[in-house]
C-alpha cells in the first residue's frame, strides 16, 4: 500500500449511526494496511466537513500523492483500495455478503418462499446496484438450491476476460440467499458477460461438506 495515502470517512452520527459498524471491516483494513484513516461525524465536527467541502454524507475522501478523490457513498471509494490485494478482496467479499443479507432482510425475502415473488422483488430492487434482468432459472427451497441469470453493468464494462469477474455479485447473492435459505450458501459465477456470454449465470448451493483425510498427516509433517 502507498504510504502517502490518507483517508477520511465523513458520516452523520444522527442518520448513519450504523455506517461505521457496517463498514467496520473496511475501516479496520485501512488501519491494518498503514493508511492513516479519520472517521468524522459531521454533526460533531462541522468545521472539518466545511474544510473538506463535504455537502452530503456518507463520503469517502482519499488522498493519494497529494491528489484528493471524493466518493459519495463510500463503497465505491473503498473498492479502489480494497481491490489492491488479497486481504482487501476478502474484506470486499465480506462487505458484499453483509449487504446482500441486509437487503434480503429489508425486503423480507425469507418469508416469501414462492419463486415468482422472490424473482419479482429482486428484479425491482437490483437495478440501482447495476444488476438487470434478474431471473431465477431454478429455485428449490427444500434443497437450498438456486440458479440465477442476470446482466451486470460491471461485467459489461469490464475488459474481455477468460475467467468470471463478478466476485462482488457472487458474494452479494450469497448474502441474499443465506437469508432466504437460512443456511450458509456459496454463490459461484459459472458464466460471465466478460467471457463473451449474453448473461452472467450463478449457481447457489449450500456450502458443501468437504473434508480431506490428509489433514492429520499435514499437521504432523508441518509441526515436529
Amino acid at each position: 500500500m502507498d504510504e502517502k495515502q490518507e483517508v477520511w470517512v465523513f458520516y452523520s452520527g444522527e442518520r448513519e449511526s450504523d455506517l461505521l459498524r457496517f463498514y467496520g471491516e473496511g475501516i479496520a483494513y485501512l488501519h491494518d494496511s498503514g493508511i492513516k484513516t479519520h472517521t468524522i461525524d459531521v454533526m460533531k465536527n462541522p468545521e472539518l466537513a466545511e474544510k473538506h467541502k463535504i455537502i452530503a454524507t456518507p463520503v469517502l475522501l482519499i488522498k493519494k500523492d497529494e491528489e484528493k478523490h471524493k466518493y459519495v457513498g463510500i463503497i465505491d471509494g473503498l473498492k479502489q483500495l480494497l481491490m489492491n490485494d488479497l486481504y482487501g478482496l476478502s474484506v470486499l467479499h465480506a462487505l458484499g455478503f453483509k449487504e446482500g443479507r441486509q437487503l434480503a432482510r429489508k425486503l423480507e425475502l425469507a418469508g416469501m418462499g414462492e419463486k415468482q415473488e422472490i424473482e419479482q422483488t429482486l428484479k425491482e430492487n437490483l437495478g440501482s446496484r447495476g444488476i438487470h434482468d434478474f431471473t431465477l432459472l431454478e429455485f428449490n427451497l427444500k434443497k437450498r438450491y438456486a440458479k440465477v441469470s442476470l446482466k451486470s453493468e460491471f461485467a459489461k464494462e469490464h475488459w474481455k476476460s477468460e475467467t468470471t469477474v463478478c466476485m462482488e455479485i457472487s458474494s452479494f447473492l450469497g448474502g441474499i440467499f443465506t437469508e432466504i435459505f437460512d443456511v450458509g450458501v456459496l454463490a459461484t459465477e459459472e458464466k460471465c458477460i466478460a467471457q463473451g456470454f449474453d448473461y452472467c449465470e450463478f449457481e447457489i448451493k449450500e456450502a458443501a461438506e468437504e473434508h480431506k483425510k490428509e489433514i492429520k498427516e499435514m499437521v504432523r509433517k508441518a509441526i515436529k
Partner: protein, 186 residues
Amino acid sequence: MNIKKIKDAFHDLEGEHIYLFIVNAKEYLNTNIAILKEVVKRDDAAGIYVTLNRPYASLTKILQRNDVNTDRIFFIDGTTKIIGETKKAENVFYVESPQNLTALSVTITEAVEALPSKNKFLILDALTTLTIYNSTTTVSRFLHFLTNRMRILKLDGILLSIEKELNPVIAEQLEQFIDKVIDLSE
C-alpha cells in the same frame, strides 16, 4: 494496546482454558500479534490458527515481519478459496468458505488431534466473520461444539472478536462456555 492485560490473562489461570478477547477494530492486527507472541513463547507450544478474516498468504507475511515464530503453527484458512487462488504451503489447509462450518469443525478436530505438543492452542480469528457468513443459530451451534472439543482435547482456546461486532445472542451464550473474557477495546 494493553500488553500487560494480555500477559496477565495467560498467567492468572493454571491449566487449559478458553479465552475470549474483545479487540478494538483500530488495534485489531497489533493486538492479534501480541496475543500470538504470548502464546507461542510458552514451552513446547504448538497450535492451530483458524483464519477466517485474512488470507494465509497475507497473514503469514505480517507475522514474519513482526517476528512471530510460525514454525509450530498450522493454519486453517477459510477465506482464500472464496476470493482467489490458494498458495500451496506445508503448514496450511484451505477450507472452502467460512459458511462451511461442518468441514471447519472436522478439520479443526483432526488438526488439533495431530498436534504433537503438550501445550496445545487453538486461535479462532474471528467470531465477527463467522456471524457475517452464517445465521446466529448456526454460529451458536458451531461455538458450542468447538468449545466442547477444546475441553475434551485439553487445549487453550482463544477466540477473537471485534468490539461492538459481537452479536448479543452469541455473546450471551458464549458466557457459559468461556473461562475468561479479556476486554482490550478500551
